[in-house]
């Protein structure tokens, strides 16, 4: 432990610090381009049309085990030898992309935000601030 930290603890009459996590609010997250790049990458988020029926991500309150552990593996399952996704595969239209933040809207889509992650984020942020979400 550094001396200045030790001195501070001594002045505070404490033996150690309590760590508290101050997570960013969703609305305060900066829209780094890498985030947008990743959620447009088919290796990160599914691009299957089936996803339109609902988000692929866990909803708040879902038990961790239910999220991490899906249906049991079939006993006949082959070892994981899979065909790599072609990195340059074209991204589908925005309407087919599962919404990263669909949980906030119960999975529904807004026509004016499809295909534009930044617009989507701003739109959701406004709704949160207005107490609609």
């Amino acid at each position: 432990m550094r001396k200045d930290v030790a001195n501070l603890l001594q002045r505070l009459g404490r033996r150690d610090f309590q760590y508290q996590e101050f997570a960013d609010r969703f609305t305060e997250v900066e829209l780094w381009p890498i985030f947008e790049t990743l959620i447009r990458d088919p290796r990160i988020l599914t691009m299957e049309p089936q996803a339109a029926a609902g988000p692929t991500m866990a909803r708040p309150g879902t038990a961790v085990a239910d999220v991490v552990m899906p249906a049991p593996r079939a006993e006949t399952e082959e070892p994981a030898v899979q065909t790599p996704v072609v990195a340059s595969a074209p991204a589908p239209a925005g309407g087919e992309r599962p919404s990263l933040f669909a949980r906030y809207g119960g999975g529904k889509r807004e026509e004016d935000v499809t295909g534009d992650v930044r617009t989507l984020l701003h739109h959701l942020a406004q709704q949160i601030e207005q107490g609609k979400l």
Binding site: R15, D16, F17, Y19, E21, F22, A23, D24, F26, V29, E30, W32, I34, F35, T37, L38, I39, D41, P42, R43, I44, L45, T46, M47, T56, M57, A58, R59, P60, T62, A63, V64, A65, D66, V67, V68, M69, P70, A71, P72, R73, A74, E75, E77, P79, A80, V81, Q82, T83, P84, V85, A87, L100, F101, R103
Partner: protein
């Protein structure tokens, strides 16, 4: 019992650290645990107060040869895992990945062959992610053929999180949104980890109030919950 595969698509993500301390935390919680170092670096043992020159028993050594530190039985599995016979033994169920113990394997980022070999036998893959731009980008390489958010039997943990850093803070929020319940936890940057290793001490003994160790204990609770009996999916399918 659970075979937990610790692997990250990015080298330097702290996979050995996570594997070692997850083993320690599970042992602290009263579980029987074996930690298997399947990396060529052979560095897992350093987190158990050992020195580089000290050897730990091979994975296939007799049980009597066990080297136990803080309730964790340590094994070196790199040599065994890279023999021609290993895949066959694994397929025949001859590799002791079942039983009453947690078995936690530390596999190098680049050793994707071994990862693929072990994956079907794993109850859970614990994937450390460093909250940097490169760390996030490496997630695209996590498992070819399966989108990240659809990877079953996989739990992610952010490692070396520094919330005084803007990007790290934002990346934490981003990953929480992206991964939902698959994000099992976050481990804060903690210089005590390096200091404890440099002194040849266990982290909990070196710094009782270690922020990283506290986070690891929370991770162990999450992992134990995921692997708890009753989760049909964790049954070995070898």
């Amino acid at each position: 019992m659970p075979f937990i595969l610790c692997h990250s698509p990015k080298g330097g993500a702290g996979t050995s650290f996570v594997a070692a301390h997850l083993a320690l935390a599970l042992a602290e919680a009263g579980h029987a645990v074996t930690a298997v170092d399947m990396t060529r670096q052979d560095s897992l043992k350093l987190y158990f107060g050992m020195t580089p020159i000290q050897a730990i028993p091979d994975f296939d050594a007799p049980e009597d040869d066990a080297h136990v530190v803080a309730g964790v039985s340590l094994r070196q599995g790199y040599r065994v895992a890279h023999t021609d016979a290993f895949a066959l033994s694994l397929a025949r169920g001859e590799v002791p990945l079942t039983g009453e113990r947690y078995i936690i394997a530390d596999v190098s980022a680049d050793d994707v062959g071994l990862r693929a070999l072990l994956l079907p036998h794993a109850a859970l893959v614990v994937m450390p992610v460093v909250p940097t731009a490169i760390g996030l980008a490496a997630l695209t390489q996590a498992q070819p053929g399966t989108p990240l958010v659809e990877q079953d039997y996989t739990g992610f943990v952010i490692n070396r999180l520094d919330e005084t850093r803007r990007f790290g803070r934002n990346a934490h929020t981003f990953l929480r949104e992206l991964l939902g319940g698959k994000l099992l936890g976050a481990i804060h940057e903690d210089e005590a980890v390096n200091e404890a290793t440099a002194r040849g001490q266990l982290l909990p003994a070196h710094t009782a109030a270690s922020a990283a160790m506290k986070d690891i204990r929370n991770l162990a609770v999450a992992v134990a919950a995921v692997c708890a009996p009753g989760q049909d999916a964790i049954e070995d399918v070898a």
